[in-house]
Assembly symmetry: C2
Homo-oligomer: 337 residues x 2
């Protein structure tokens, strides 16, 4: 058997607008050798997430930008190959050392995960940051109650699809999602979530109103732009808009104007609040318990779109912004053997 | 002495854009005669407030629109001329029966006010709805703490000037207001409030940053538009935007686009919340106590811009949107004799 090589993806140049293949560079290096006390990890899956686009730009954001020429990073789940005092070969670990096949670590940045609860890649999705994002956004930021009528944009995405299902699991009867393909709509409907394909309508606000004649109490906003404006039009008095993402504008060189109907915030006494999951890690243990139970009960179902091979990771990220993924977008880096 | 006549102002037609004199009609009628159990009130001062512009349009809002041909209404303070079992001639009463000189009432819509605390017209300003608006917006909606750095737009207006002073009275050290004339700036400065004239700068965000190098924790937003965008640029993480008014756009036929930097809500985890004072009447007794004390201590100083005669009430309202007023805009309807 040939000696395995390590591959990683580096930022070749900062993208303008939608990233293209030339913005990334695939590099080959030897598999690193762990030093004293270090573990060697082989990544099995890496996560691609919309927020990574922000880190590719120089503009300041809530996480430091990636540096040109350096290996990108992001969530990954891998298997310990060489252990240390805390980790045993065969342990599955989640890290922020994605966009590479192999890495060494002293273990301080690794978290063991239990493959008995769900396949390990679930810890990058429903049981990981996207799941916690949906959970914290609904429960803490949005103060969800079972009486709420919930609208979710990008509802078939990694966060959106979990948000819809958490809202149902928490007792909300009216949960409506907007998606961009009929396949996504059908998947959500198969989960018992009402959904529509926004590409089928010229009147997004009217379409929301048809699906939610009583209006929206809680808008879980992943998209922004026309979606946010249409949701605002349908908000009930005292409603809450939880601003989780603005995927519509992550690739815009110049930010677009905001919605024209912000006066509704005042007239209907609405609250709009942005949040970032890293502020809510204190909820992680509660989240894991609740989510593990919901998965066991079948109340939250996972779905993944898997791209094979690290060389295809850039295409997977670019695909996020075209809406290629149903559920969580993952890149499979190695078989678990 | 000639028998007095009653005058009132009616909505002649719905304004397009900024209201003009032709949108109003001055009517003369006999002074009404109180029926059994009714009181006769002579209004001394009436209030003109920006929200009234919304009621002149047909667009639905949080209060019912005025009807064409009917007498307008709004806050007023008057003196009881003929009493009943609850009101004695000479009592001062606040009502929503402004835009008329005389009216009769069974008393259920009247509230007695104490002229010993402050001149009675103060109950239309710092001790009335504008004061409660500032109080509820800062204390309840904005959850003001003494550590907050506070920015107030339209800071020399009826609400803004009280908001600035409440923030100082509650212990905030950094309170900065934006105003539209040097006279307004000088007035605020004389109260110990840092202020700038926004007409002096082409870079509103940069000017705020000069005055508040540490950024804004709480934006008490009365203006919207470019002001809101500039405030957003200067918000600190976890900051709160209390949306009290959007005077910049009340006269626009088509609503303007929102700010281009709404992504900051997310990146800086900001909360933006609209409110309307009528939801916070339960605070009224606490407010009256606090505000009476602050006025007695000199911590809140009142200022009024007074227009004489009901025939000039339309011009007073129109003047609000040009920023003619320093402090509370009032129309004096009669001498208190």
């Amino acid at each position: 058997m040939a000696t395995p090589k390590n591959h990683d993806i580096r930022l070749n140049k900062r993208p303008v607008g939608l990233p293209g293949p030339a913005d990334f560079e695939l590099a080959e290096t030897p598999v690193p050798v762990p030093g004293s006390g270090q573990v060697l990890v082989r990544n099995l899956f890496m996560s691609v997430d919309p927020y990574m686009r922000g880190r590719m730009s120089e503009r300041s954001s809530y996480v430091a930008p990636f540096q040109v020429g350096e290996t990108l990073s992001g969530g990954a789940v891998g298997k310990v190959v060489d252990g240390n005092s805390r980790f045993t070969p065969g342990d599955y670990v989640v890290s922020q050392n994605g966009w590479r096949e192999w890495f060494v670590s002293d273990g301080s940045d690794l978290r063991k995960v239990d493959p008995a609860v769900a396949p390990v890649q679930a810890y990058l999705g429903a049981l990981g940051m996207p799941g916690l994002t949906a959970y914290a956004g609904l429960k803490r930021v949005g103060q969800l109650t079972p009486e709420d009528r919930v609208f979710v944009s990008a509802a078939a995405g990694a966060v959106g699809s979990v948000a819809c299902q958490i809202a149902r699991a928490m007792g909300c009867e009216v949960v409506v999602g907007s998606v961009g393909t009929d396949a996504k709509r059908q998947w959500l409907e198969s989960l018992g979530i009402e959904a529509f394909n926004y590409r089928d309508t010229d009147d997004l606000a009217g379409t929301i109103a048809e699906h939610m004649p009583g209006g929206i109490d809680l808008d879980f906003e992943n998209v922004g732009g026309a979606h946010l404006e249409a949701a605002l039009d349908n908000m009930r008095e005292q409603g809450r808009i939880v601003l989780c993402g603005l995927i519509d504008q992550y690739n815009d060189a110049e930010p677009p104007p905001g919605p024209r109907n912000l006066d509704l915030l005042l007239k209907r006494r609405l609250a709009m609040r942005g949040f970032i999951v890293i502020d809510h890690f204190d909820l992680f243990e509660n989240f894991l318990q609740d989510m593990s139970r919901w998965i066991a009960e079948g109340k939250v179902q996972r779905r993944e779109t898997i791209v094979n091979g690290i060389e295809n990771a850039p295409a997977a990220l670019i695909g996020l912004f075209r809406g290629d993924n149903i559920g969580k977008m993952l890149v499979k880096l190695a078989d678990d053997d």
